[in-house]
Symmetry: C2
């Protein structure tokens, strides 16, 4: 069996939601995208430790490269190094110590990254996940995730709409959440060596477990369910918009920042590489075509508005 | 003044060699390359702390992106963080402890990376550097550097020639050096997540200070001086060779590995970013056009010979 069997009612609920969200998003994308660009990649980990279903779009009408991937994995903690790494992660939870020697983990998540061909459509990233560790004495669990936008050109109205959707979803659960998670997103997606944020932000959270499981399940399902509403207007508005070689150069140059962030800073990438994760899934987030140029000023001089926006985050709603 | 003033006879000798090597290499490249693709970028650090001269080639007849850069910088150790970082580096020297509070450093080096347009010409990297720290009690110094090759297609004869040149240069100083530095190069330029070496190696050394300054100056000058002899045959042989879109796709895909290595593993990149170094110089090494694809097997299936060579280093001479 590809996906790991959920060990609890919440694990099952999270996996069901994640599977259904993947299906909904892919169906929607396939109304714009050619079927030839779609690739359904089912993969399994050895020793019955689960796997994933990657829905990949590459070189299509709409997407240069995109992935809408889910996974459900399980197992025990192998090496001492792996245990030490997880124990250091678990410190974020402020939970009582847990002995990982006999413990079993289960993790399920949806991870989406879309790099459209048209430079007027932003890159977007979305990820929601549920993690559970069962030892003989106790069960630990937490939720994490987020969604953010990396435009090449600014459409202030649609960026505001994107943030409004996320705010409305968060507000359903707690009106304090959107401002907190928006700020966390701006803080996390930051490239110190460029003095730039990765894009115009969104929301970002991790290690959520202070409230009930249902509370946070409600949060990730509301946020996940608003994804299409938040992002499709960019596709609708710009999929047929003309662009020229300079627009594509600018897009590929900015995509370099995406690579810099993911390889230099992204926790998920680091974690994946350290735990010997599946390379295709870890690097799914990287854009297809990227360029680095020495004399950046030649490209950036006509894009000051975007550069101003990503140099200091603003309040969009 | 752009370049820092050398504080010692050896510092002056190293800088003279490095300047002259830059001139020789650029003159040679300009016999193949169009002058329009050449860009001489002189930069300075604030507060009279030196600077550099970057000779950049971009979008030329021969080079997609190349840099032949020198720098000579000096200063004192600023923050406690910076001091701690340097003290941890200095451990590699097995020298007596030094108090960095009142110390002055001087560093000069040449750094070359060439990414040719023609996929049949390998990417190459070369770097030789001299570092000196003077405190009131003592002077520390060391040499470092190396040169290596990253081909997209294999020309076994020319790769062997490249290694033979480096061996001949090392042998002038000590016949033990080439095997040691060749092995260090294979070890250093390794991508664990890909189970691949970056290319077909070369030589790599750092923190050399056990013998005399002249001994190591002789080593880096012999190695630096053999660069053109080792690499030009690739240009001569392949600069006019036909290639098609598939060759370029393969080249850009392999260039992704170069980016992965430099952003995930390269010590120079890490050091540069941590010390708030000059971004243009740090990222000069990145290729211009790069691609990542999800289904790598579609590209790799016809390139098994290269993949075998980079998966386990061989003895070239």
């Amino acid at each position: 069996m590809t996906l790991a069997t959920p060990p609890s009612a919440m694990a099952q609920k999270a996996l069901d939601f994640i599977s259904s969200l993947q299906e909904t998003i892919c169906k929607s994308f396939l109304t714009f995208e050619s079927k030839e660009a779609f690739f359904n990649d089912v993969w399994e980990r050895p020793h019955n430790m689960g796997g994933g279903i990657s829905c990949i779009f590459e070189d299509g009408k709409l997407f240069e490269k995109a992935g809408v991937n889910i996974s459900a994995i399980s197992g025990s903690f192998g090496s001492e190094k792996e245990k030490a790494m997880f124990l250091s992660l678990l410190k974020q939870l402020q939970s009582p110590a847990i002995n990982l020697d006999q413990a079993q983990y289960f993790a399920t998540g949806i991870s989406l990254v879309c790099h459209p061909i048209n430079p007027f459509i932003p890159t977007t990233h979305m990820n929601y996940r549920y993690f559970e560790i069962q030892s003989s004495e106790s069960t630990l669990w937490w939720f994490g995730g987020g969604c953010d936008l990396t435009p090449y050109y600014l459409d202030l109205k649609l960026i505001t709409h994107f943030h409004q959707c996320l705010k409305a979803a968060c507000d359903l659960i707690d009106p304090h959440y959107y401002p907190m998670y928006k700020k966390a997103c701006d803080t996390y997606f930051y490239l110190p060596h460029r003095h730039e944020h990765r894009g115009v932000g969104g929301i970002f959270f991790d290690y959520l477990n202070k409230q009930s499981q249902d509370h946070y399940f409600h949060l990730i399902s509301a946020c996940g369910n608003t994804f299409l509403e938040s992002y499709l207007p960019f596709i609708d508005t710009y999929k047929d918009k003309d662009y020229d070689e300079d627009d594509t150069l600018w897009q590929r140059y900015r995509r370099g920042r995406y690579v810099e962030f993911n390889l230099l800073h992204d926790r998920g990438t680091k974690f994946g590489l350290q735990t010997n994760g599946r390379i295709e899934s870890i690097f799914m987030s990287l854009p297809k075509h990227v360029l680095w140029t020495y004399n950046e000023a030649l490209l950036t001089h006509s894009h000051q508005e975007l550069l101003n926006v990503i140099s200091s985050p603003r309040d969009w709603v």
